[in-house]
Symmetry: C2
């Protein structure tokens, strides 16, 4: 991609209304623009990151056997009356009347709708267990939207719903999602702590929140540092992790005798990015979902729901991975693999070398953002550091004459001259 | 994908409330379920098709140099007051008040928002021309939603917006999208006719609708059959196509002397799936979008907008490509490449052969839906014909003993016995 034909409106100044670093950097790096309070447009660079985060989430859902579908954003109030939540949900639900005066709402979550669809589509034990998920925009009418996409009103969420014939099956489905979440955060380059959580308005008796560790996080968590030693490939990992101590500060402080020895107790700041629930028959019973069991009897399936904030994760990743100069994207979600700077666009040899390198890297499957603008070197370096691509290649006249470029690793700042061939070999290995 | 672990709720009966064949087949084939009037959930198989249609649309937008971004679904009424359309738009706009009493709406289109974003981000002629697009859910509160996803209320649309410094540039951007649309429909296996259209509430002086030819279409179009002879690779294709006669019946009948000789005049039924507009400074002027020209003066950019109904296209494809037994997907959008039927799941040799074939085809990059359910052969054949995958492979005990399977082409119905090796070679070439 040529930057001269792209849309990347970076800002030199830190916007005054952005309080936290991820919000500041998302605006400055041209990832998003606010279009109304708590509602954002995703500019081209931001959309690329959002899609890559969604892809990582999707891959781990698929690996866990969940099946993707897509439910609409606008729901009928009637559905929520069946569960009793329409009146109970409170002012965060965006309530709408259509032209016919029918009560509708912009879905903040989908327990009711998926239960109704499953009730409509599935009649037999043969079609259970199933875990279904979708990645769709949600709306929660926060009284005070803030922190950019971290507490926006319109946000992208992956929510999954499991249906099982019995308690043991339901707990196995919960464990599968528990593991999928930890794998997802690991694949995103994040350290996550699963914290036992109250179930709140979703209901049920088993629930965990996942907190991403970041020094600028809004929450504070205490946990047994043995958490880091559990191998996610171990089938017993969910059980092991659940048995290890992890609490939000508020809950931790209520506990007189913490069971973790002081030398193993870690205290870190975090950002909640996921929340999972096993709530049994709460919705299936209220909404009359039953399936026929093998013996011919009618059984009310047990359900769980599993949410992760896809747009929120972008903020969390930036909180966890940045420096003074800008964002440092993990390779798994970076909008481009490589930033290519041509220092002298008016020099035919530099231009030819830069275009040739871009073409070769792209032919090898790498994504490249090529800064071919007529701008000063300092501005180009600052922009590349700000937008945080993992690798930078700098093409200049001296190097081109010698057949070399400068290669810089964004995360370490380490840079060195190298031949074009060795750069190609390194970046396409 | 194993069908025994999937969610594919096919229906044997034709739903009484579905009037047109695409609506009937989308329900029967388990692609969608209605969740409220004119609002649909996309079941797993339907989502796969929707994503593939969107990918074809995206590829042609990218090829035309358009840049993808993503605008939110909920917009502020203030934006639409700047263009004067908030009061003008009528009852199809879903109007919403948030918890603070602020007037919002669910976007039916995005001219206002993109103009505001461009105004905020772009200040110089250096950043023009640009065409930006997004693929996002829209809502139009139809008074009588019908025909399934063909006239739904919540629907997926690709809408693009061009920004140019002058009239000639604006017309070139229009031509690029005109060509991109024809390429898109060709890639989807559809025959499309561009029809000169009135500009309506979007405004402007140049507009075309694209009608997909289908015998069950809602519109009737008259056109010069020389349209089929224009090569889309020809740079003059847009001009040539625009000069050839094509009219909706209503307009055609008003014309006393049709310029096309009777033997060249074709009359066919069609379905409108795209609409493009060049409207100059209508929105940029109303909303105060100006950029600095090379000579330092302030210029009001000229704009166009370009919409195609992504979810509607699914209905149009089915209208254009089906038979009595079900859907016949073009290869470019089929939810899976191959349907694999095991006729005897209780026979270890059949099961082993079917699983091995699935694994080999998937390893070669083909997508496979493997019917491994404990069900009768007739039901499996009927389901595969209904869901319309391009190829069917039938594994049965006699064939397995002889090392053969049956291979069937869905579009022609042609079938023959073949060795597993030759089937692999044919389907992975």
């Amino acid at each position: 991609m040529l930057l001269s034909r792209y849309l990347l409106p970076v800002m030199k100044e830190t916007p005054a209304d952005a309080q936290i670093v991820s919000h500041q950097m998302m605006l400055r790096a041209g990832l998003v623009r606010q279009t109304a309070a708590g509602i954002y447009a995703w500019l081209p660079l931001g959309l690329r990151v959002l899609n890559r985060i969604a892809s990582v989430v999707r891959a781990e859902q698929d690996r866990a056997g969940a099946i993707e579908m897509l439910m609409p954003t606008i729901q009928s109030a009637d559905l929520w009356r069946q569960s009793g939540r329409f009146d109970a949900y409170g002012p965060e639900m965006l309530r709408i009347k259509d032209r016919g005066g029918r009560e509708m709402l912009y879905g903040p979550t989908n327990e009711e709708m998926i239960t109704a669809i499953f009730r409509d589509c599935v009649k037999s034990y043969r079609d259970l267990p199933r875990t279904l998920y979708h990645i769709q925009w949600k709306f929660r009418d926060e009284v005070r939207p803030r922190f950019g996409v971290m507490r926006g009103r319109e946000f992208l969420m992956k929510d999954a719903y499991s249906f099982d014939m019995d308690e043991a099956g339901g707990r196995a489905s919960y464990d599968a999602m528990f593991t999928a979440y930890l794998r997802t955060f690991a694949a995103l380059g994040l350290r996550a702590v699963p914290v036992r959580a109250p179930t709140g308005p979703i209901g049920g008796d088993l629930s965990h929140e996942f907190h991403i560790l970041a020094d600028t996080g809004e929450s504070e968590v205490f946990f047994d540092s043995a958490l880091d030693d559990v191998d996610l490939g171990d089938p017993d990992a969910p059980a092991k992790l659940r048995n290890l101590y992890a609490m939000e500060a508020e809950e931790h402080e209520k506990i007189a005798d913490c069971p973790v020895p002081a030398e193993r107790l870690a205290k870190r700041r975090g950002i909640e990015v996921g929340h999972i629930f096993f709530f049994g028959t709460k919705y299936s019973q209220a909404m009359g979902l039953q399936v026929q069991a093998k013996d011919g009897s009618q059984v009310t399936p047990l359900m769980g729901s599993y949410g992760v904030g896809v747009s929120r994760l972008m903020g969390a990743i930036i909180e966890a991975s940045h420096d003074d100069a800008g964002i440092i994207w993990p390779e798994s979600v970076s909008p481009f693999d490589i930033g290519l700077i041509n220092l002298r666009v008016d020099d035919p040899a530099c231009a030819a070398a830069a275009h040739a390198l871009q073409a070769k890297l792209e032919a090898a499957g790498r994504t490249v953002l090529h800064d071919d603008r007529d701008a000063r070197g300092g501005e180009k370096f600052a922009t590349m550091d700000l937008i945080g691509l993992p690798w930078q290649i700098v093409v200049g006249p001296k190097g081109v004459a010698a057949g070399t470029v400068e290669l810089k690793r964004r995360s370490s700042g380490e840079k060195h001259e190298a031949s074009m061939e060795s750069v190609m070999a390194k970046l396409t290995a």
